[in-house]
Symmetry: C2
Subunit: 248 residues, 2 copies
């Protein structure tokens, strides 16, 4: 078998944040597989087949990629951000583990990308400059009780927190509950960052005290970062800079 | 003032992981400031002054960068990995906040990079594919009691954990204590990854059960990732793949 699978991160949207090794993998591919808006970021060319699929079919897409590689194709599975952070890498390995034994002989590589929380943090300053945690607020794949437990323990640990998938149309109440839990657990007005469409021309950043945050401030294109108790704002003529000092 | 400061991430070591926007900033710079081994990664050229300094002088280096920018220079402060994760961005903002008011009018941008934990995770599979936390194990800038508290709460939250600066010659006992705390808090044989010199020609990966991990498995070039209770290994002819499934 000369086929392979590369699971590659395209970064948060700005093409200048795509690493050269990811570009090289795309240049060498025969097939690209992924969610529609991410595949749309790959330039079509002679000899490259683009397979765009809808959201929530991650396992089907993964099996398709592995099948094509087993048939000799050079397949890139694209994710936005980093493929290892709430993206396609775990889905491909779930499919690999459950699939035919001969798939395990395939060459499979993961190429990291700039994940949304790091692009959002950079755009606002350095809110993740001290210890932090990263939580997917979607309860599609885990019970809400576990999310609540993690939020409360993270507040107790005084981690800054980065939230992926804060809010969707199908679960509008989850993020409202998240804010209530955080206000109850933190009991202060620490800053919270809403970073929408980070690194794209539509980027917008908003920093408010936790006490004034409302669910409508986030949608599915928003990365949310909650400060720790030490996270601070520097006021400048160019706007606020949000950062967490290195020491406590 | 036409000077600026860009705080840029060079990624974990592989030049093919440096983003084009970071390359562009280096091409436009008059001065590059940073820790000796990171500045050594920047190619010398006519019109570019390289200012390499030793470890543990982050605030001096930050003030120097801001002073040069205030004098009209175009300064890139280089970090390895991502500048916002236990690197130079927070140090520059600490210096900015404590410095002369006119520094606040400067253009200061943070350009993200591939941080070590994401490169290590990608090299091993996808151990950070579910909720996780990121802890700097150095007690230079925070008390050991806080590190211990965070480790215990992170285990209770069942986060995967990524550790920066696990072990240094000056604090050899800290990582031994970390392993003892984790064994006490986790009470299982979950996998732990020791990823040394990730993405460089000297890269080495080692996965052992938490019960068999020893302090000597880490040094200051090692990124350590401890699985959550659901993190698994897939055995393949090409070696083990470490990953955390998306669901619990």
């Amino acid at each position: 078998m000369n086929g392979w699978v590369v699971i590659a991160g395209l970064g948060p949207g700005n093409e200048a944040m795509v690493t050269p090794e990811v570009r090289d993998a795309l240049d060498a591919a025969t097939d690209v597989v992924g969610y529609i808006p991410y595949v749309a970021r790959v330039a079509p060319r002679e000899g490259l087949v683009l397979h765009a699929s809808d959201n929530r079919v991650e396992l089907d897409r993964s099996r398709h990629a592995l099948e094509m590689a087993a048939a000799g194709k050079r397949v890139v599975v694209v994710s936005s951000g980093d493929p290892g952070v709430f993206a396609m890498a775990s889905a491909v390995f779930e499919a690999l583990e459950a699939g035919p034994a001969d798939w395990r002989a395939l060459e499979i590589r993961v190429l990291p990308g700039i994940t949304a929380m790091l692009a959002a943090a950079a755009a606002a300053g350095a809110p993740l400059g001290h210890d932090f945690c990263t939580i997917n607020l979607s309860d599609n794949l885990k019970p809400w009780a576990l999310i609540e437990k993690r939020l409360r323990l993270a507040a107790q640990a005084d981690f800054a927190m980065a939230f992926y998938n804060p809010r969707s149309k199908s679960r509008p109440e989850g993020f409202a509950r998240t804010l209530d839990i955080l206000r109850d657990a933190c009991r202060d007005a620490r800053p919270i960052l809403f970073a929408r469409a980070v690194s794209t021309p539509e980027q917008s950043l908003r920093i408010v005290p936790l006490t004034e945050a409302t669910p409508e401030m986030a949608d599915m294109r928003t990365m949310v970062i909650v400060g720790s108790s030490t996270t601070r704002i520097i006021d400048t003529p160019r706007g606020p800079i949000l950062y967490t000092p290195r020491s406590v």
